[in-house]
């Protein structure tokens, strides 16, 4: 089991009148190589779930085992290591560093992995060529279109070849054509063996995934396998 969360809660302002249960007793297991779409309305807790799965946030209660390791017992260096090597993030707002060029952004996770300069160059260019933005390597994020920025962000997520890709509304800020390309790319990565967790509010986007986990008010209300809409 690659990902295993049991009875996880994320509660803001617990015990006060303004208490918000972003996650309300969620249990979920994901196997290696799955393509899971987590679907829910805005405020349903789907992003919170992804943040916890990606070790960007900690649950209020509950256990989380990643690759058999209890996340609660890991220190900062080990958590950083997981975010660095196990997970590649793709965000709705790209989250590129504005002061760095496309190349430098993609290079960043490899630097934190202490990959040598020469190997780094190979891996960065490979990732950028794969998503079709290699010719933009010198540009800063502000000099690129949204689609190009998201491709750079994807290149950054896959540069270190992590086994898990987590994408939070990756097409949310893109036109439908570009959005389709991005989803197609995620399917390809999945075919090559990557585990994909896709967060979305859009059922048509969720249709690209083999498994759909529906979430509402912090609870999982449906978890089903489906026919894949191959792009």
């Amino acid at each position: 089991m690659l990902i295993d969360i049991q009875d996880v809660y994320k509660i803001y302002g617990e015990g006060t009148e303004a208490e918000v249960r972003a996650l309300d007793g969620v249990s979920l297991t994901i196997d290696r190589g799955e393509f899971v779409a987590v679907v829910g309305q805005s405020g349903s807790g789907k992003s919170t779930l992804m943040n916890i799965l990606g070790c960007l946030d900690v649950p209020t209660r509950g256990t989380y085992l990643i690759d058999g390791q209890d996340v609660d017992e890991l220190d900062d260096a080990q958590l950083s290591h997981i975010r660095n090597k196990q997970v590649g993030f793709i965000f709705q707002s790209y989250n590129l560093i504005q002061n760095l060029t496309a190349y430098e952004n993609v290079e960043l996770p490899l630097i934190y992995q202490n990959v040598s300069v020469f190997r780094r160059k190979e891996m960065v260019l490979e990732a950028m060529e794969r998503v079709g933005v290699a010719d933009r390597w010198k540009h800063h994020p502000s000099e690129m279109s949204g689609g190009q920025q998201q491709r750079v962000a994807i290149a950054r997520a896959i540069a270190a070849k992590p086994p898990i890709i987590m994408a939070d509304e990756p097409t949310g800020a893109l036109d439908s054509h570009t959005g389709k390309e991005v989803l197609h790319f995620l399917q390809e990565l999945n075919k090559e063996g990557s585990t994909i967790i896709l967060i979305t509010h859009d059922n048509s986007i969720a249709a690209t995934a083999r498994r759909v986990v529906r979430i509402s008010d912090g609870k999982i209300i449906e978890d089903k396998e489906q026919e894949v809409d191959w792009l």
Binding site: G54, L56, V58, D76, R83, F89, I97, L100, I111, Y112
Partner: protein, 404 residues
């Protein structure tokens, strides 16, 4: 992550945000340069006025002391001053006498400018800033042996001997033969008539042989420096109180004394200088503070932007310590470069200030002030440059990512 990588990351970040880096540096440059220039010019002014007084006052202590029984206190005072050699360079009676000096057809009474005739100790030249040019100076032996010798100032020597060598020649003083043993170097060339060089010096012991009732009550004591004057003054006053009694006691039947030094004027001057340095130091401190606030502002304004950046870096795998190391190096580098430019600009301003305000004086900034100003602004820059890193790297990455 290795240190080299942290450094590369920091440099990339600096070159990637040139405006922020420049504004931070500007705060440091202005702060450091203005403090350096202000304090250095101020210190130059103080030094200049002090050296002016050193020339004028020449650290000389004037002592006036006598006993009601008519005995001289000079010999005792002279011996006492020998013990004070830590502070005192020499002591001599300060007085002149009336006599007629004749050499061949030259007569001091009939000269257009008669030479001043002084009696003194072997330390007369030290006290009065004369240097021997030909022959030799008065010695202790001359004084102890009542030798009939004299030393001439350059102008007097010229008046009596034209351009022939006076050393070894014999002059008659009130009819008694005196040998000229030396000539002093000219020190007052500007005045031709009543020149300080138009003088003849006799040992005070031999001067007594001339049947003169010499007034030995006035003594000049030459001290090493301004501080020595204070020390010597206090000690000599104590010593003289023992001999002459307390000059402020109206029932005192033994004698009387007082001491005086030009340095008392210097003290007033020093007080004014201290006052000025306080005022200007305050101005300098304020300008450093303003520069510091500028640095703080720039650093704090960018905190949000940088918090998000830190969130991104954390999300893709940066450890807390890598983030902190990067920001430390980044802030340190920006502030260090700012400091260097600040010192350069401050040096230029100081040199210009010396030229314009202190009459072309070559003025160099003081090490202490420079170091202090640089340390202060670099420290401030580093602390506030580190602030977002320390704050944001402690957050959950998702919280830092949400900053906008």
């Amino acid at each position: 992550m290795k240190l080299g990588q942290a450094m590369k990351m920091a440099f990339k970040s600096i070159s990637g945000s040139k405006v922020r880096s420049f504004l931070t540096m500007l705060g440091i440059i202005i702060g450091v340069a203005s403090v350096m220039a202000i304090v250095s010019v101020m210190m130059g002014m103080t030094k200049q006025s002090l050296s002016y007084y050193e020339k004028m006052g020449t650290n000389r202590l004037e002592v006036y002391a006598y006993l009601y029984n008519g005995n001289s206190v000079f010999d005792d005072l002279y011996d006492y001053c020998l013990h004070l050699d830590q502070y005192v360079l020499g002591a001599t009676p300060a007085g002149n006498m009336g006599a007629t000096v004749i050499y061949e057809d030259k007569n001091s009474d009939s000269m257009e400018y008669s030479p001043s005739l002084y009696f003194g100790s072997d330390q007369y030249s030290v006290v009065n800033n004369f240097q021997i040019e030909k022959g030799r100076d008065l010695s202790k032996i001359d004084v102890d042996n009542y030798s009939n010798v004299c030393v001439m100032g350059a102008r007097a020597a010229q008046n009596f001997f034209d351009f022939t060598d006076p050393v070894g020649k014999e002059v008659r003083v009130n009819g008694l033969p005196f040998t000229v043993i030396g000539v002093y170097k000219e020190k007052d060339a500007e005045n031709s008539g009543w020149s300080m060089d138009n003088m003849i010096l006799f040992p005070y012991t031999a001067a007594r042989n001339l049947g003169q009732n010499l007034d030995m009550s006035q003594v000049y004591v030459k001290c090493r420096d301004a501080n020595s004057v204070k020390q010597a003054k206090a000690m000599i006053e104590g010593f003289l109180t023992g001999i002459c009694g307390d000059p402020n006691d109206w029932q005192n039947q033994k004698g009387y004394f007082y001491t005086y030094s030009d340095n008392q004027w210097q003290e007033v001057q020093n007080e004014q200088a201290t006052m000025m340095s306080l005022v200007l130091g305050g101005i300098a401190g304020i300008s450093l503070l303003v520069g510091g606030i500028g640095i703080m502002n720039i650093m704090l304004v960018t905190v949000t932007e940088r918090t998000r950046e830190i969130g991104i870096r954390r999300a893709i795998g940066a450890q807390r310590k890598s983030i902190v190391a990067q920001f430390l190096i980044e802030a340190g580098t920006i502030c260090g470069i700012g400091g260097i430019f600040g010192v350069a600009l401050g040096t230029i301003l100081t040199l210009i200030g010396g030229k314009l305000l202190l009459g072309g004086m070559i003025l160099w900034p003081s090490m202490g002030i420079t170091l202090g100003a640089v340390l202060f602004s670099v420290l401030l820059g580093v602390i506030f440059g580190m602030y977002p890193a320390i704050k944001a790297s402690g957050l959950q990455p998702v919280v830092a990512l949400r900053a906008d």
